[in-house]
Structures are given as structure tokens and as C-alpha cells.
Amino acid sequence: MTSTQQTPLLEAQGVGRSYGQFIALEGVDLRLNQGEFVSLVGPNGAGKTTLVNVLTGFVPPTHGRVHFMGRDIRGSNSVELSTRGLARAFQLVNVFPDLTVRDTLTVAACSQLGLRWRLFGDARSHRSAAEVVRATAAAFRFEDALDIVASSLPHGKRKLLDVASAFALRPKVVLLDEPTAGVSTADKHGVMETLLVAAREMNVGAILLIEHDMDLVRRYSTRIVAMQGGRKIADQPTDDFFSNEEILSVVVGKLEGTA
């Protein structure tokens, strides 16, 4: 399914990140191609979040380089990358407590449309921004919640809003950090379904998902990257991965240990 010919949307080559003595990340290669849904698994402290931080330009790598759509991201921070189509949703529920759903989405829409420095004119009634908001809201079933203040949304919805706001950037690549954490097992699939539908509707190029729940991973990903101690220990299509007992035991075992 992965074709090595096409230039990957997101590519990391031997990236490493160390804080003083502590090495959080070491020699990690990663390719994310058009149409892929890659899951990033591994025990806590395996360096998953650090990797995402590096990939999104939030922290610069101490070794190696990262290319987004063929361009080295060195020197460009998360703000630029996010407007260039590299979006990220968070582990924590931290949308803007005081803004309504509409406004939260509009924030993203405005940066993506480069309306940042418009000092006048109601952002909400700007045609193309409103269109992006409408589309995103539709994709995430937010139509009837548009004017609710984020902090008063139900928990599951809030997580979704976080994701939705990332999608409102009309990104090529989305990095999702446990979008279903704290969501009841029953709802998890619901969240993932909406998410995937949305991704399709808004033609997102590729998704990188950090996830502990192996059912979700197995069910949705096209490829799985496993990490441990800051190193990549596996990078295989889903089926191969789940047939690879020893790696699975490392990941799952550690997981049970921590869970």
C-alpha cells in the first residue's frame, strides 16, 4: 500500500532529541504517505509525544531532519507549519474555555485563510471563513452546538472540538495525540468514526495517531510504528504488526504494566 516512489507528506530522517544527558528520542525514521493512517504505539515514556513535538516544529530536533511536503521544516515553528497544513490535536482537553464552538473553529479558519491581521469586519460573517466553519461543523456533527461556549460542552464533544479545530485548518496531515483518552470505550469508536468520515470529507492527506487502545489501532490503522525508549522498534503494516508476537508483547505488556 505504501509506495516508496512518491514523496511522503511528512518524513523524518534519523531525528533525535536529547535534554542534557537524557535522550528522549534517537535515530527515528518515519514516513507518512498520502492516504495513510499510521498509529504510533509504545509504552509511556517511549518518546511518542516528543516525536510529535519534533515533527510539528514545537521543539527542534537535536539530530536529523524533518521534511513536510518535501520542505525541510527547520526554522519554521508550529504556527507556520499549522497554516501550511500540518495540524495537531492534543492529549489534554484544552480548547479555549471562553470561546464558542463557532469562534474556536473560526480561529483556525482565519489563520488558514490568512485573515490574521484583519482588524475589522466580523470574523464570523466572513464568507469563506464561515464556509470552512460550516463544513467542519457538519463533518463533526457540531451544527447545532455552534454557539455553545466550549467549556460547557460535554467531555467527549470537547475532545472532538479539539480535533475539529485542527481539521478546520484544512490540513494535509493531522497528528492526533490520543483523541479518545478519557472517552468511554463505548464512545471511542464513535469518535474514531466521525473523525475518519471528517478526514475523508475534508480530504486530509494522512493521519498519525498516538493511541494505547490496541483495538482502535488494529481496526483503523494502515500501518503501525512502535516505539520504546526513544527508539523505533517496529514499522509494519497492521496485519504483520499484530502477527509479530514479541514486539506486541513489548508494547502491550508494558501497556498492561502502566495501565
Binding site: 479555549f96 471562553d98 469562534d103 480561529v107 490574521r116 482588524l119 469586519g121 470574523a123
Partner: protein, 343 residues
């Protein structure tokens, strides 16, 4: 950074619901603005001249606070040195009058706006890196730096005795024939009212613009905002510039009202009074600062009339507000209104 930040954000519990198109926010606000302007326009017709004259400092502060609250209410940044810009406005008009013979208020305003931008630019550059207490302390330091500058460089500023701000012409029309009081309570009063109305409209535009949204996003959660393409630092910097301009315009009005630009305008306690007004009216409401300025002026006047210990009572009122009524007057009114509508 985010820790400091979220702590700032979490405070805006009541939130600036002006974003929310409810009756109160849309119709209510427009109605309030319209009625307010009409009422203020009517004041000189019936009120005692003294209260009309109080209307001018009120409008000066109202304008300044609109800007101040873009920083505080919408940006989550509490400046404890904002009096700097009122002083700057007053001095700018004094200097432009003395050295460039500018006698038109428009000239003074332009001069004030220009100077305030020049001064605010470097400060904004430094200050935009900070939030919370550090922002407060930084702005306080800048304010006091300017205060001691005004005292030290007396050849330029007149030191403690300040500089004369002459009675200006309005729209090229001179009112020199008129007594100062008649000028202030007559044409100048209405001129300020127009300035205030414009200030409100412009600010109303700004807070709802894409930029305004980005500013609030940066206030609520810096990291998340940056991942939605919000240039948090620049956004804050611009907010500082805008608030500086508003402050300077307010300063010009104050200067003309007093007829003097003096260093005390820049003293940090004066900044404290600005903060007081914002909280009094409700910094989480668009019109809060305007209401705050209005109530503060009358409150201070009444207190001074009844006791020489008016500072004590001001302090008590502020403490009570901060602890019991953080929403300020408008915030409380709105809360009551919403409760009433729920029934």
C-alpha cells in the same frame, strides 16, 4: 509558559460572551450604546455645569479604558503602567502646541497617536513575551521609567510644574472667545462624546474581527492557539499598540481638561486607578470599562465630598469587587439578566 497562561485564562470564567449572538449581546449592546450616547448628549441640557465638567474626565478615561481592556479583558494582560500613555497623550499635545504651534485638537490627537506608537513599539516588543505578574511588573517599570524621565528632563517637559495644554480649536473652529468652562462643557464635551462613540465602534469592530478572535484564543490557551496558526506574541504586541493609542487619545482629552500635562499622570498609582475602573465596570464585558469610568468618577466625587478618607472607601470597594463581584457591575447585571431570562 502554558501553565502561567492557562492560569490567566481560567480566570475569565464569565467570558466575553459578546461573541455569542444572544439578545443581550447583540440588540442589548447596540441599544446600550445608542441610549448611552443619547443620554450623554442630553446631560449638558439639564445637569449642573459641575457634573457636565465631570463628563470630560469620564470620557477621557472611557476611551483610554476601551484600549486598556483590549489588553486586559480580551488579551488577559494586566498592565500596571498604562497611565504612561495617558501622560504621553497629554504631553504630546502640550509639546505640539508649544514647539510646533499646533492649536487644533486634530493636530494634537495625530501627534499623540504618532508618539504613543513610537513609544509603545519597543515596549510592546519586550512586553509581548510576558503574561501574568511579569507583564504587570514590566509595564509598571516602564511607566515609572517614564515618570522619572518627565521629572529629570525638565528642559523638555517642565519637570514637576508640567507643561501648559492650551485651549485647542475644534475642526479648525476657534472658541477662544468662550470661557474655558463654557468651552469644556459645550463644544468640547460634544467633541469628546463623538470621539468616545467612534472609539467604541472601532473597538467593537476590533474585538469581533479575526484578529480579535486570535487575541482571545491566545489568552485562553497559548499552545493550542499556536497550533491553530495564532501568532500569539505578535497578536499581543498589536493589542498593546492599539491600547497605547487609545490611552494617548484619552490623555489628550485629560490634558485639555486640566490645561496642564504633569508627571503625576504617569505615576503608577494612576495606572492603578485605570485598573480599578476596568474591574469596577467589569473587564469581561465590552462596555464594562466605560461603565467603570462613569461610576468611578461619580463615586470618587461623592466620597471626597463626604469624607477626607475617601481612599479607604475606594480600597474597600475594590477589594469587595475583586473578591465578591469579579464580574464587576456589568458582569453582575448580565448574570442577573440571564437568570431572569431563564425563568
Amino acid at each position: 509558559m502554558s501553565t502561567v497562561f492557562t492560569s490567566v485564562a481560567s480566570g475569565h470564567t464569565a467570558s466575553l460572551r459578546d461573541n455569542k449572538p444572544g439578545w443581550f449581546a447583540r440588540r442589548g449592546l447596540q441599544a446600550a450604546i445608542f441610549l448611552g450616547v443619547v443620554a450623554l448628549a442630553a446631560v449638558p441640557q439639564f445637569a449642573d455645569a459641575y457634573y457636565v465638567s465631570l463628563g470630560i474626565p469620564f470620557m477621557a478615561y472611557a476611551v483610554a479604558l476601551l484600549g486598556f481592556n483590549l489588553l486586559f479583558g480580551y488579551g488577559g494582560l494586566l498592565s500596571f503602567g498604562h497611565a504612561l500613555f495617558l501622560a504621553l497623550g497629554a504631553y504630546a499635545s502640550a509639546i505640539s502646541a508649544r514647539h510646533f504651534g499646533l492649536t487644533s485638537i486634530e493636530g494634537m490627537l495625530l501627534c499623540a497617536v504618532g508618539v504613543s506608537l513610537l513609544v509603545a513599539l519597543p515596549i510592546a516588543f519586550v512586553a509581548s513575551r510576558f503574561v501574568g505578574i511579569f507583564f504587570g511588573m514590566l509595564t509598571l517599570s516602564f511607566g515609572m521609567l517614564f515618570y522619572s524621565f518627565l521629572n529629570k528632563f525638565y528642559h523638555l517637559t517642565g519637570g514637576d510644574s508640567g507643561m501648559n495644554v492650551p485651549q485647542p480649536t475644534l475642526l479648525g473652529r476657534s472658541y477662544a472667545a468662550m470661557g474655558k468652562m463654557e468651552f469644556l462643557t459645550g463644544p468640547f464635551y460634544y467633541y469628546c462624546l463623538v470621539l468616545l462613540a467612534l472609539g467604541v465602534l472601532v473597538m467593537w469592530g476590533i474585538v469581533r474581527s479575526p484578529y480579535g478572535l486570535h487575541l482571545q484564543a491566545a489568552r485562553d490557551n497559548e499552545v493550542k492557539a499556536s497550533y491553530l496558526g495564532v501568532k500569539t506574541r505578535q497578536v499581543r504586541g498589536v493589542a498593546f499598540l492599539i491600547s497605547a493609542v487609545y490611552g494617548a487619545v484619552g490623555g489628550v482629552i485629560l490634558g485639555v481638561n486640566t490645561g496642564l500635562a504633569d508627571p503625576e499622570l504617569a505615576y503608577w498609582a494612576h495606572s492603578g486607578h485605570l485598573v480599578f475602573m476596568a474591574v469596577l465596570g467589569g473587564f469581561q464585558q465590552f462596555l464594562g470599562p466605560v461603565v467603570g469610568a462613569f461610576v468611578f468618577i461619580l463615586l470618587q466625587d461623592e466620597l471626597q465630598a463626604v469624607t477626607q478618607y475617601w481612599r479607604f472607601f475606594l480600597g474597600v470597594v475594590l477589594a469587595a469587587l475583586v473578591i465578591g463581584m469579579p464580574g464587576g457591575i456589568l458582569g453582575t447585571v448580565r448574570a442577573l439578566w440571564n437568570r431572569w431570562r431563564k425563568r
